[in-house]
């Protein structure tokens, strides 16, 4: 399975909104097992897509996104993704 990537995150998230909460069928992401996930290289999108995931932009100024998956919350930091989500939500 592919890791969660910036590109994969953007392309598989749906319903992004300023607020900002995005719900989508992101691919299974072994990297999510850690508390904090850093973006990495390009990989295929949303492999597996086993369950819905909610992404919450908790603090746009810090590029902080909380990912709710299964019974876990993973903190993901990527200012570039957050900036693109904000742009998409306008």
């Amino acid at each position: 399975m592919g890791k969660l990537t910036r590109r994969g995150f953007i392309h598989t998230s749906v319903g992004a909104a300023t607020g900002l909460a995005a719900a989508g069928a992101l691919g299974a992401a072994p990297a999510l097992a850690g508390a904090v996930v850093k973006p990495s290289g390009k990989t295929p999108l949303a492999e597996g897509a086993p369950q819905p995931m909610v992404a919450f932009v908790r603090d746009a100024s810090r590029g902080e996104i909380a990912l709710m998956v299964g019974d876990r919350e993973v903190s993901y930091h990527d200012s570039e993704v957050v900036a693109r989500l904000i742009k998409a939500a306008k």
């Binding site: 819905p52 709710m68 998956v69």
Partner: protein, 454 residues
């Protein structure tokens, strides 16, 4: 009520609203403890066609602290699943429900039980059946049998029940929330009316109960059978909680929703009436979100309860000594947050150390009373509240009297007002509201046989 609709947030979420928690040595099986946690306040028995049930999206938990640190060493978790046999009818039942597995019952609920000990989870059972709601003589003609079929004995040693029961908690809600009126004493109220008997507001309502009967040896920290009331290992702290997922997303157009993320606590309950009348409105939902071991942050509300200041105002001239009592209420802090140490009440203690936490504290070495008093310890019955809590304990009168100063002489030189030891909302327990065997709360009121309030 004890904790029914007690906070603004949880009052809008009935299936997660923990209304009462009970913990007592089982009177008919004194080698075990029964713990009951109730949800869904004020169920009108005729509330169909979508009768009451547990939330499939709620995590229900019963916590047990057996080493006096305010943190649960043992947690029982309950998760529910609703199965609809025929989605193409509006009916809850399509004929008589004569057995718990009846094909005529269209909307069944099942659940799993998981025991977590020091962080290690083990699923004890899954697919356990709940009984249906008590609809009426045409639909559920032999309800008692359906209720009995809802009691499951687990291979691990516990017995469990989850389903509708008759509300066991009794209180004159209508009077108490009408400016602290107590009908037997309302001739002395600041807005006087002729004294009158109390009215049990919960008389014809049901709740949804999760009940566990657990061998005592599975509850003590060392696996021993508690026989010495003076021993710290005889005392356990008990409370219940409900949690929801951190995120929920509702879809437009298909009625679907998705939940994900960690469980977030939205309701909890140890002692009755704490979040109801001790914690101020602005902190009630916050209190529900907090772990019990952090309750020292609320200790000032227990030490200086608002109700103790109101009673002398609402009943002019009746509580002069209480009006002059400004010291921190060490009696209430002990009863509600740490337990009562040895040396205060002969032959009794339920002290769990300095950690302040809202828990029912049960000394399991105190045997069930042969002639129980609903007034518990202040009625001379060491097996009752605040030594745990039994289903029939008159916790409203007990806590009213304690807050009015009746228990302050336990810790300081003080003469209570004459009225302090008499306070009551005018209600007593009625044996017909309970049953003598597990789960001890009685068959729920049926929809057909319950008349709407006039």
């Amino acid at each position: 009520m004890s904790s029914h609709r007690e906070a603004p947030g949880i009052s809008k979420d009935p299936v997660a609203d923990n209304t009462d928690t009970y913990a007592f040595v089982s009177p008919d099986a004194p080698d075990s403890v029964t713990i009951i946690s109730n949800y869904v306040p004020l169920e009108a028995p005729f509330g169909g066609p979508n009768f009451f049930e547990f939330g499939d999206d709620v995590l229900y938990e019963i916590h047990i602290d057996n080493d006096a640190d305010g943190v649960p060493e043992i947690t029982y978790q309950f998760l529910f699943e609703t199965r609809v046999a025929n989605p193409n009818t509006f009916l809850y039942n399509t004929g008589q429900i004569l057995s718990i597995g009846s094909a005529n019952w269209n909307r069944k609920q099942f659940y799993s039980v998981t025991r977590v000990v020091n962080g290690q989870s083990r699923v004890l059972a899954s697919g356990l059946a709940c009984p249906p709601c008590n609809i009426g003589p045409a639909s559920t003609p032999n309800y008692s049998e359906l209720g009995r079929a809802g009691v499951h004995r687990l291979a691990s040693g516990e017995s469990v029940f989850a389903g509708q029961r008759l509300e066991g908690f009794y209180v004159d809600l209508g009077a108490i929330f009408d400016l602290g009126d107590l009908r037997p004493f309302q001739n002395l109220h600041i807005v006087p009316l002729p004294a009158a008997p109390g009215v049990n507001a919960s008389q014809d309502f049901n709740v949804h109960s999760i009940a566990l009967r657990i061998p005592k040896t599975m509850l003590t920290m060392d696996g021993s059978n508690p026989t010495n009331p003076a021993s710290a290992t005889s005392v356990i702290g008990v409370w219940a909680a409900a949690s929801r997922r951190k995120a929920e997303v509702r879809e437009i157009g298909n009625g679907m929703s998705h939940e994900s993320g960690p469980w977030v606590q939205v309701s909890r309950l140890g002692n009755p009436l704490i979040n109801e009348v001790i914690i101020p409105m602005g902190k009630k939902d916050y209190w529900n979100s907090q772990p019990a071991q952090n309750d020292s942050q609320f200790a000032s509300y227990v030490a200086h309860p608002e109700l103790a200041k109101l009673l002398p105002v609402l009943y002019p001239g009746v509580f002069p000594n209480l009006a002059g009592l400004t010291a921190a209420r060490a009696d209430l802090l002990a009863i509600l947050l740490t337990g009562i140490p040895s040396g205060i009440i002969p032959g009794f203690q339920n002290y769990t150390g300095a950690t302040q936490a809202d828990q029912l504290r049960l000394n399991m070495a105190i045997p069930p009373a042969s002639k129980p008093s609903p007034l518990g310890i202040i009625g001379g019955d060491l097996a009752g509240f605040p030594n745990g809590r039994r289903v029939f304990d008159d916790v409203v009168s007990i806590e009213l009297r304690a807050i009015a100063g009746a228990t302050y002489p336990l810790v300081a030189t003080y003469t209570p007002d004459g009225a302090a030891g008499l306070l009551t909302d005018g209600l007593t327990s009625t044996a017909t509201r309970y049953q003598s065997s597990f789960p001890y709360l009685a068959t729920p009121a049926s929809g057909y046989q319950t008349e709407p309030l006039h």
